[in-house]
Amino acid sequence: MNEPLINLIDIYKIYRMGSTEVRANDGISLKIYPGEFVAIVGKSGSGKSTIMNIIGALDVPTEGQYILNGEDVSTLKGDELAEIRNKTIGFIFQQYNLLARQTLLENVELPLLYAGVSRRKRKELAMAALDRVGIKDKYKNFPNQLSGGQQQRGSIARALVGNPSLILADEPTGALDSKTSREVLDFLQQLNEEGNTIVLITHDHSIAEEANRVVSLKDGKVDFDGGVEEYRRNRT
């Protein structure tokens, strides 16, 4: 394999709460290569949300270096981070996070809007993304007129539309029933087979086992990092 897409080098994230110091990430190093499907798993308080924020360029580490796609992201400021998020990362959230007052099409167009893509091109790309997740016919609907599964597909379409290098999914099945969860996971696997790099954040071991590689966090440190087979063996 060539250059890693994500290269986390000795990442620390330290919060100060009064006089006590909380080390949410306590020296995490991790390399993720293009085309991988990695699950980051951990209990609440393990530091998985913090590392997700850093990987997603929503936050920067207190110490350490984060190289994303060959660029050092760890020292960037607000607007530069926004640019990175816009161009490089596609987010899939637990609560879908579609804007309630916008139609499905407008929601999917949002990242392109902020990227400055022309109107016609936006519509073309957004419709293609909706077609890919199989809800093209719903493009005029508002989010509250769609089922949970459809909304999550909409948010996947929004993550895909800018053709990002990385898809970052934060508990994507957390609000779905088991049948729709299965569909979404199958779809993520399909996207991975098509060559997309996917990082899945979850607290659920069985969901984590859908990935090809599992990184388990505990107390802000990497507890386990290896293939899914090895992970499964370790647990039982």
Binding site: P111, Y114, A115
Partner: protein, 389 residues
């Protein structure tokens, strides 16, 4: 994200919250309407006052003299003085003003009777509908003839008066020699409520010397020259500035204009306060809106919205609300100004300046008062914003 898309987003958000948007706008509407209406009406009043005064002649100077036993102004000397400076003076007329009872048959009324010279009608630019004005012979002979206005015709003659009719003024018999053309709808105390008699007759009837003269300058810009000449002339005779007084219509006009302008500024200022209150209302709503839409801001930021994108979104939303309110205010203000103006018989219309001012202030308030909440939104941390429900 360009301006047009941001604007569309703002419209969407305003339409999505109709009642709230309307209530926010209401402050702006009331503020702008009152500014435009008050300034427009004040302007109408000023114009009305000015035109009334101009009708009375802006080239006129009035002199009042307090004659003493040893120092007094003689009528013939005044006429000679005016003839000497005929390059600046158009003419002069003494005026002897008294209140008398008028009688015609069984009708009687009380009004102002003015003793004047033969040039009075020309100096004041009024015309007669029948008969003739007082002439030089009438004055020399102390002829008891009078010229009456249409209000007198209506009140004393019950509407029909002819040249040659006789009336009693203060008990003395006068013949109507002319009737003045109607000027002001024959209202009481207007230019149509008048009786003119030769000043010589008036002096005799009142038993006093002539204490007042009306001078006319050849043009408005010669008024100051006339005033200086008169001042010198009168001082030479009276030797005391307190014994005579010269007032010009132009000075009076200036005072009145100054006063109405001041009134306009005060009223406009009071109305302006309501614009300020409207601005605070907009800021308040935008602050609430930012809190309400924290999650939306978080989502937008996570998808790549920059600070200026969010800032612009909220500033434009605030500006749109206030400009919309301002525009409605301008339309209402226009309607109110012309309608109220009509009701009072004023020729009132909103001035271009007041419209520009109102529009500028409403747009400025929108941007100014929208900026603080917008900046608050733009500075939100995406992680915290995403976490809120």
């Amino acid at each position: 994200m360009n301006l047009f898309q941001t604007f569309k987003l703002a419209i969407k958000s305003i339409v999505g919250n109709k009642l709230r948007s309307f209530l926010t706008m209401l402050g702006m509407i009331i503020g702008v309407t009152s500014v435009i209406t008050l300034i427009g009406l004040m302007n109408g009043v000023t114009n009305y006052v000015l035109s009334t005064f101009s009708d009375m002649g802006t080239n006129m100077l009035t002199v009042s003299v307090t004659n003493t036993d040893t120092r007094f102004v003689k009528v013939d000397d005044v006429y000679d003085f005016v003839k000497k400076y005929s390059n600046v003076f158009e003419g002069v007329s003494p005026s002897v003003v008294s209140n008398y009872t008028l009688k015609y048959g069984t009708n009687s009324m009380s009004t102002t009777v003015t003793g004047v010279g033969e040039d009075y009608a020309d100096l004041n630019d009024f015309k007669l509908s029948s008969g003739r004005f007082i002439d030089y012979a009438d004055i020399k002979n102390r002829y008891k003839g009078c010229v009456i206005g249409t209000y007198i015709v209506d009140e004393l003659f019950d509407g029909i008066a002819r040249v040659g009719d006789t009336i009693r003024i203060n008990g003395e018999v006068y013949t109507v020699i002319g009737i003045k053309e109607e000027e002001a709808d024959s209202e009481e105390n207007s230019a149509d409520d008048c009786v003119y008699i030769p000043y010589s007759s008036a002096v005799r009837m009142a038993g006093t010397a002539i204490s007042s003269y009306s001078f006319a300058a050849v043009s408005d810009d010669k008024v100051d020259t006339c005033k200086t000449l008169l001042d010198n002339y009168l001082y030479n005779i009276m030797k005391d500035e307190d014994l005579y007084k010269i007032s010009t219509m132009a000075e009076l006009l200036e005072k009145v204009t100054e006063m109405t302008n001041m009134m306009g500024s005060i009223l406009g200022g009071i109305a302006g306060i309501s614009l300020l209150v409207a601005g605070i209302g907009i800021m308040n709503i935008m602050l609430v809106s930012v809190v309400e839409r924290t999650k939306e801001i978080g989502i937008r930021k996570s998808l790549g919205a920059k600070r200026k994108d969010i800032l612009l979104q909220f500033v434009i939303e605030a500006a749109t609300i206030s400009i919309l309110g301002g525009t409605i205010g301008i339309i209402l203000g226009w309607a109110a100004t012309t309608n109220i103006g009509n009701a009072f018989g004023l020729d009132a219309y909103p001035t271009v300046n007041s419209i520009l001012l109102a529009f500028g202030v409403s747009a400025g308030i929108g941007v100014g008062f929208g900026f603080m909440p917008a900046n608050k939104a733009a500075k939100l941390n995406p992680i915290d914003a995403l976490r809120t429900e």
